[in-house]
């Protein structure tokens, strides 16, 4: 039969570095070298650009104290709850907007206006409603991640291949079966993408709120380090945070199976 199976590309050897990887490593090394030169030159106050050694020491210091983990846990918990509430809300509202032309015409343009608005302007209101503790941070994270999720879900629902819906109907799938077995899996890409974007902005919203007014969390520690002018500690926290958010993003991608091409 004139049918061939697509050949899988050969897996890259783990040891051989691709040119892209080499370039990335080179860029990072160059940046680090420039930083160290700047630190050694004394052009800026020594404390503003601490040496890499000092930052490394601060990272070690940071990671060997329970206080940091407690505050990390607070922030992670806030973001997690925000993503749960904002994600569920975004998914439900997105499904409704995607399914109903009337609702989408009536409300979707507001979402497009509100989406890019900096959510920090709502922070005073959230403090009044939920207090200075984690509640207002969760609220900030929630309203931040709601928008990208609702918009990608609504758009994703409209892009579902219509024939798949006809298949479900012709096999007499019920509403719940249609949602669970056709709509949601067919929308896996836009949903994962929405959650990724949502995670990013929930992180921003929560941390920004913490740096403004709070009594715990990573944002609080960063601002504390800044006000004590403990620059190595502040940079150390930024670095750890950076690594963590890359990890979280990769995790979301992996959970959705974005890496395994064959399923998609």
């Amino acid at each position: 039969m004139a049918e061939t199976v697509r050949v899988k590309p050969a897996a890259h050897s783990a040891l051989r570095l691709s040119p892209v990887t080499l370039l990335r490593v080179a860029i990072v090394l160059t940046l680090l070298a420039c930083w160290e030169l700047l630190a050694a030159s004394g052009w800026l106050y020594r404390d503003v650009v601490p040496s890499l050694l000092a930052i490394g020491g601060a990272v070690y210091e940071l990671l060997s104290h329970g206080e940091y983990y407690f505050n990390l846990g607070v922030t992670a918990g806030e973001i997690g709850v925000a993503l749960l509430i904002g994600g569920t809300g975004g998914l439900l509202v997105g499904l409704a907007l995607g399914a109903n032309r009337f609702l989408s015409k009536a409300f979707e343009s507001y979402l497009y206006y509100l989406g890019p608005t900096p959510k920090i302007i709502f922070f005073p209101i959230m403090i009044m409603w939920f207090g200075v503790g984690p509640g207002s941070k969760v609220a900030m994270g929630t309203i931040s991640c709601f928008f990208p999720i609702v918009l990608s879900v609504a758009a994703g629902m409209r892009q579902i291949d219509k024939v798949l819906i006809r298949v479900g109907k012709s096999f007499r799938a019920g509403t719940w079966q249609m949602v669970m077995k056709i709509y949601l899996p067919a929308m896996r890409h836009p949903i994962i993408n929405g959650v990724r974007l949502g995670l990013g902005v929930a992180l921003i919203g929560t941390l920004l709120a913490e740096t403004k007014l709070s009594n715990k969390g990573i944002g609080f520690l960063i601002i504390q380090a800044y006000s004590l002018f403990d620059m190595p500690r502040m940079y150390a926290m930024l670095i750890v945070l950076f690594v963590l958010s890359i990890g979280a993003n990769a995790l979301v991608g992996r959970l959705g199976g974005l890496d395994s091409i064959k399923r998609f």
């Binding site: 004139a2 199976v5 697509r6 006809r166 298949v167 096999f171 007499r172 899996p185 064959k262």
Partner: protein, 289 residues
């Protein structure tokens, strides 16, 4: 013309009505379009006997898919009546299984899980439905690919997955809307043979929509030729050729006569369709002739 195959007059009541498994009675389907009302299906009636293979043939846009969707219960707002074993349909019927023209496998499910889909919907236990699915996968000749995803298969293999999925629901009536249209010629021929063989083995009542005359003559017991706009039944042709329809029969004179007769019917309609397309291209937005 030296053509003598027996043709059934569409106005005359079919001799098959009594034991028909499917009756399509005076179906009318209109669409409101910006240029006015479009009569897609106009007073179409026919019946199908158990185990029969009926092809519906007609130029593109004549209303074949619309008719298919009405019979499959996916389209409302028509006039007339479709009954399955005497029961008037009001929506998708459990006895009717559809295979669509478009790519319709679920890309997130393996071949097995695709084929097991209708069984999953009725709550069949996992072990049992996987066994059933394997049976139909073998039937369409896809053994060895059970755990592959559709993205790893060729177009012809994916269409076989769709066929196996519909067969797994064990429909009394199989409806196929140009299932091979998107495939290359060789794959199309081989897949046609496969479908015919399965149809004969299972004594599966089958409606095939196609615009390929040779395919229709080779496979069918009867061929329904549709007119172009409005979509009416032009003629129903009985194909009195022995089975199995080997390559010898396909090469025979009788076969050629059927093809010629249907082409003569179809040619008129197809050229009307082409003129219609051309005039619409020349006068976009103008009134429909």
């Amino acid at each position: 013309m030296p053509i003598s195959p027996s043709t059934a007059d569409r106005a005359a009541p079919s001799r098959r009505t009594a034991d028909a498994i499917l009756t399509v009675g005076n179906i009318d389907m209109r669409f409101e379009t910006p240029d006015g009302t479009l009569v897609a299906v106009d007073d179409v009636s026919f019946t199908v006997a158990p185990g029969e293979f009926l092809s519906v043939i007609g130029p593109s846009g004549c209303g074949k898919s619309t008719l298919f969707n009405v019979i499959g219960g996916l389209l409302g707002g028509y006039q007339g009546r479709v009954t399955v074993a005497g029961e008037t349909i009001t929506g998708p019927h459990a006895s009717i299984g559809m295979v669509f023209q478009e790519e319709s496998t679920f890309p997130w499910r393996t071949v097995t899980d695709n084929v097991a889909f209708p069984l999953e919907l009725i709550g069949m236990p996992k072990q049992k439905r996987i066994e059933r699915a394997r049976h139909f996968i073998r039937l369409v000749g896809l053994d060895g690919f059970e755990n592959r995803y559709p993205g790893e298969l060729s177009g012809g293999m994916r269409q076989r997955v769709s066929l196996a999925r519909t067969l797994a629901s064990e429909p009394k009536i199989l409806l196929m809307d140009e299932p091979f249209a998107a495939l290359d010629e060789q794959t199309r021929l081989l897949l046609g043979d496969k479908v015919l063989q399965i149809q004969q083995d299972l004594k599966q009542t089958t409606l095939l929509i196609t615009h390929n005359i040779t395919e229709a003559v080779q496979m069918s017991d009867r061929i329904l030729v549709m007119t172009y706009r409005p979509g009416k039944v032009k003629r129903i042709v009985d194909i009195d050729l022995p089975r199995p329809r080997t390559s010898e029969i396909v090469g025979s004179e009788a076969f050629g006569r059927y093809v010629a007769q249907i082409w003569a019917d179809l040619r008129e309609e197809a050229s009307r369709g082409m003129q219609d397309d051309e005039s619409r291209a020349l006068h976009p937005g103008g009134a429909r002739p």
